[in-house]
């Protein structure tokens, strides 16, 4: 009969469709045969009962296929965000001196390594575990919520993978502002503390069901302008403050001196890598293969572009030359700023947010350097702290119902959202400044945060790691 043929093929196809979940051992080819055999054995007559069963299976298969797409997407995104590590490493190395390049590599390598373990053991639980008082999570340590029994348990692995790379990003940001003078062992200690505690707490507040996400108008920080970038930026500020400027950075009268980076192509490569990886950061923050990932990629890209343009024009006007390192900072400024609102604003608004961030970053870098006299070799405080705050507030201005379901001030949403955003920005600032200052002071007065004057002059590569980074190259250094 015709019908049973259909039923058989349906079962066959369903099995095929579903075989994505059968386990990895099985090859695609063999899946087909198994299915055919299964069908041959169960050739019962077609009935509405059978049909219903088949519909269920079809639905199951469709669900599984969507799950597969979700898994692929979140892991692709996680891999991309992991790739931010070399992005930051190359940028930081490029904008500092050659005598510290190996130390920078070690820092970026080890903060991700130690951070991965720390986030596995403690951080993830604090961020996404069962909420306590709206302040922190309290279970799920050691990935205990994950298991291989079913989809939910399996999802935990994928989700953790995505979250750990975010945690490592927050930690690695700090490194840039403290470059060229921080003791390696001190670096390791504060890096662990950040991934294990300081960052996860903020993450819990905003993403993990904590108090900022349960406000009447919950704070919107889609991919983490505040959660990741501001946290990194403000901690960088604490670190640079406690640490003090590099030798020779400020003259006797407090005038700022330029300390040139040693490798512009490396720095640019870093920024290109970051731009590339940021698509995973923002569009991946859907954590599923929804259709909004296209829109998010567009806003992300336009903001980055506008940020570069904004910074280049600003520095061109101010300093008469289009400074490469500032333009690179402009890209990151745009990216950091759009991170909070990438799913909530129009492409046009994304350009505005990015462009303003690009302008802001130039003034901020000069202000922090020349007025505050805080020495931040790569501009991390301005890029991540200041532009992260700006981007978070910008959601309160530019958010549009059409995109993310909630409207900001400029789109008729009134001040409600802006207030929540401001509240988030301020409390996270306070949290980071307090915790950060305590943390860095504690390290300073115990194991030590800064290398000796001689070590700084000779460079951390030799003094901290016993090896030069550019063996054979003649490098002219007068300090």
């Amino acid at each position: 009969m015709n019908l049973s043929r259909f039923v058989f093929s349906a079962v066959l196809l369903l099995s095929l469709g579903a075989h994505g979940v059968l386990g990895a051992e099985e090859t695609t080819g063999s899946g087909v045969e198994t299915a055919i055999m299964a069908v041959s054995e169960t050739s019962e007559p077609a009935s509405i009962q059978n049909l219903a069963q088949l519909v269920t299976k079809a639905a199951e298969a469709a669900g599984t296929a969507q799950d597969s797409a979700n898994w692929v997407w979140i892991l692709l995104a996680a891999f991309l965000v992991m790739f931010m590590q070399p992005g930051f490493a190359m940028l930081e190395a490029g904008l500092t001196r050659s005598k510290n390049a190996g130390n920078i590599m070690m820092k970026n390598l080890m903060d991700f390594s130690i951070g991965s373990i720390a986030y596995f053991v403690i951080g993830f639980g604090i961020m996404f575990g069962a909420d306590k008082l709206g302040l922190f999570g309290s279970d799920g340590f050691l990935l205990s919520a994950a298991n291989t029994a079913g989809k939910e348990g399996m999802w935990q692995y994928a989700f953790w993978m995505f979250q750990v790379v975010f945690a490592a990003t927050a930690a690695t940001i700090v490194s840039g502002a403290m470059a060229e003078r921080t003791k390696f062992v001190g670096y390791l200690v504060y890096s662990v503390c950040i991934t294990m505690f300081v960052y996860p707490v903020v993450g819990h507040w905003i993403w993990g069901g904590g108090w900022l996400s349960t406000l009447e108008t919950p704070m919107v920080d889609f991919a983490g302008s505040t959660v990741v970038h501001s946290v990194g930026g403000w901690l960088a500020l604490c670190g640079a403050l406690v640490l003090g400027p590099r030798l020779g950075k400020y003259g006797p009268n407090g005038e700022s001196k330029a300390i040139l980076g040693h490798n512009m192509p490396l720095a640019a490569l870093g920024v290109f890598i970051l731009w590339f990886a940021w698509f995973g950061f923002n569009a991946g923050s859907t954590t599923e293969a929804s259709q909004s990932i296209g829109l998010i990629s567009v806003t992300t890209n336009l903001a980055a572009a506008a940020g570069a343009i904004g910074a280049m024009i600003t520095v061109w006007i101010k300093e008469k030359k289009p400074d490469p390192s500032m333009s690179l900072n402009g890209v990151l400024a745009g990216l950091v700023a759009i991170t909070a609102g990438c799913a909530n604003v129009s492409p046009g608004a994304a350009i505005a947010i990015g462009f303003i961030a690009g302008i802001l970053v130039v003034f901020s870098v000069e202000f922090i350097d020349q007025v505050l006299h805080v020495d931040d070799p790569v501009g991390a405080i301005s890029v991540h702290g200041v532009c992260g705050a700006w981007g978070t507030l910008a959601v309160g201005l530019f958010a549009s119902k059409e995109f993310g379901g909630i409207a900001g001030l400029f789109n008729g949403g009134g001040l409600a959202l802006l207030k929540s955003q401001l509240l988030g920005v301020v409390t996270v600032f306070v949290w980071c400044m307090v915790l950060g200052t305590l943390l860095f002071l504690a390290i300073k007065y115990t194991i030590g945060l800064r290398v000796s004057k001689e070590d700084e002059l000779r460079g951390l590569d030799i003094t901290e790691h016993g090896v030069e980074s550019y063996g054979g190259f003649q490098i002219f250094t007068t300090d």
Partner: protein, 113 residues
Amino acid sequence: MKLIIAYIQPQRLTQIKEALAKAGICKMSVTNALGCGQQMGYEENYRGVKLSVNLLKKVRLEIAVTEEYLKKTVDIILEAANTGSIGDGKIFVLELAECYRIRTREKGKVAIG
């Protein structure tokens, strides 16, 4: 005329340059050099293997001066380059037979400064 060659610690270059400039000695040539002397070098360790580095980074100055500037220049360098620790370097003074300024083809003392 004399040609002064000085090996100094790299980090003292700026200081020396400033001190010399104050005394009106603004012309000099600089190269980077490696020095080996009493300052014994140091041991690195690369992939488990000892590596003794005994060529240390120095900066080499070459300054042509007239006799009248000689003492001044040497004194300033002795002063500004001194950190008091081994490895501070040396000053060598050579007889300079002739000197030309390429741009003007001037010769002798006038060409020096």
